[in-house]
Symmetry: none
Subunit: 209 residues, 4 copies
DNA sequence: GATGAATGAGGATTCATTCAT
DNA sequence: AATGAATGAATCCTCATTCAT
């Protein structure tokens, strides 16, 4: 039998997890400055004191929240396998998966917006490693497409990732101003398929054009 | 008849303008919650009391800042004329102008991010009218392209506007997390032309593909 | 009739004065770190908020307390005139006045001890000017004594001031440890005259020896 | 028989000694209230818990620190033998030794200041016994001087000890405020000899005057 | 209309200490 | 005897706002 953690440690992990969960919601909801440490503590089974015990400060807690959010998002992405498809189908599938993924995680997108408002000052160095696979997968598809002669040759994987991300992120992140300016709900259910297809079309047209 | 404002009123306008200018910087810099009313007042020639006198509350001031920011941005956009070009050249020109425009106004983009974090609750209704021309211009280009048989027929002007905006906004708004995750500066001067061309290519390929 | 201050300003001064008075007691009693801002506010007719409004921080308040304490002590000293006495009588009178003065102001001595524990980091520059007269007076007496041929010629006024101060300060400042170590109350009323005379003897013997 | 302490006890003594050493520095540096139990523990190879285990409380630790500091200081003083000198030379030698001794132990002087701020409430009773020899030695010199007819007869040993101590302590303890008030560094190396001689002169003049 | 002074309510954080084994 | 984890109760400070003229 594998070594079992002592009861204590599991409590510790569970409590930290609970704090992170509640803090994620609070930060995503109100931004870094708008989030209230008291509020986070109150919605937890522990006290504000424990929050400081585990995370040191409001800032330390936010860093932990960001770290966990990125880890969760990349873990979810990893599950997808698109390598066996032909290049065109693969890149469309990847774009569409990214599309659905963003729609499913609005809190993550809000956290990223918030972190950018704070000029990325809470981004741990470890995050770069976590995100590398996303680009590598695109790289593999691009290479296959170039070798098959169906993709233009001058496209960089990071830049294509940006093209896909910008579309997916904007739809979620800028939903509210877009609604006010153009009276259009970017997340309306009856438009979702259209937007998803549009993204695939954009990416494929660009790569094969 | 020329407006003959009394001396008082001109003072009033100048003071309000100064407050708005300082407040725009403060809100863009620190977010809504992070912005400090004291700080704004201090960087102004008036007092905090006047700020409340003119704008009622921190929220009222933020609404005024947003309103002014949108008005300024659309006024600048209006000066561009792309209608006389052929559809492909016109849409590329428009996309590239939008690209440069966003790069030139990072504070505006930050304010929009901030407002989206706050779920668009400070967006005045009047803003819809201000932004309509941007879509109408795209509409005109799309129609010309469709009639000339060079554009696909199923593209909506608002959606194309989103495609262009998302790319331009993301580059500025998500610069910091992107730098941390992929070690790439999206605003590096030596990549600007490449990114601008890429956007044009994307849009044209999509429309003509 | 002289200009009368507006009612408001007098309130302000009175309130600040009250805060300083209470803060002086609290700092003298518990030291800088041991003093409680809440406690000071509570013993005042104002709120803790006003304390920060007027003095900015606990540290700002402590600086103000020190400044006022030094000003008060030197103002009291100034009232004494010893210049018309012969040098020996004058220096003895000055020493004895200093002696009584210190005994009468134990809180001041405590504040000075506390400030020395904090390495003098709260001493305003203005204090040097306030204290110059004390040395100048000694200087005048020393000069007269040297000219009369009754004092040794190599004594510096600041150093003689230190000799006198050290004796007077120690009696008050180190009272408690002295009591514990030697079972002697340095401030016992029935020893006061003896200690006062001893100081005069020490100073006169040194100068005339 | 040589003491054969069990290994455990020696560990215990070593740990306690380390805690005391670190705590002495921390209390001397920041005062009683300003000292941080966490900080002390962190600079030790043990944990905060052990500190409570051995000393019971912050106060208990401070009492132990004081006790040890007094013991160390008196032990050092004891090594000096001045009894074989003639009374005038002996008292001057003793004063000058005390002078050097204080300069060499500023932390001890700071601890004593701190304890006096706290009204001597942490002074263990045992300290009286430790300090008795200091006075007894002065008593012997005074008696010899009186019998030789070179000293005045009305001087008490404790009081002479105070005269010497006050001068030596003040120079170290009040260094910082003196610097700020009179722009003079009482511990400047090039003044040390002068101050030491001055003390001897003062004491001898008083006793023989 | 214009303004210097004042403030209630809340905000992040720290402190010495004890629990549970 | 020895100890890693946990914590109640403060502690200093700040914020948007309003009072009183």
């Amino acid at each position: 039998m594998a070594a079992t953690q002592p009861e204590r440690s599991r409590d510790r992990d569970r409590t930290q997890g609970e704090i992170l969960e509640v803090a994620t919601r609070e930060f995503a909801e109100h931004g870094y400055s708008g989030a209230r440490v008291d509020e986070i503590a109150e919605r937890t089974r522990t006290t504000k004191r424990m929050l400081y015990y585990y995370f040191g400060s409001k800032e330390g807690l936010f860093v932990a929240v960001l770290e966990q959010a990125y880890a969760a998002i990349r873990a979810a992405e990893q599950t997808v396998d698109v390598d066996h498809l032909d290049p065109v189908a693969a890149i469309r599938a990847l774009a569409e998966l990214t599309f659905d993924h963003h729609e499913a995680h609005p809190d993550f997108i809000r956290l990223v917006s918030i972190e950018n408002i704070h000029r990325g000052e809470h981004m741990a160095e470890s995050l770069a490693a976590i995100n590398a696979p996303a680009v590598e997968r695109i790289e593999r598809i691009l290479r296959a497409g170039r070798e098959a002669g169906v993709f233009r040759a001058d496209v960089d994987a990071v830049d294509l990732h940006m093209l896909i991300s910008s579309y997916c992120v904007f739809r979620v992140a800028n939903r509210h101003t877009w609604q006010a300016l153009f009276d259009r709900d970017l997340l309306a259910a009856d438009r979702r398929d259209g937007y998803r297809t549009m993204l695939g079309d954009v990416v494929v047209a660009y790569l094969t054009g």
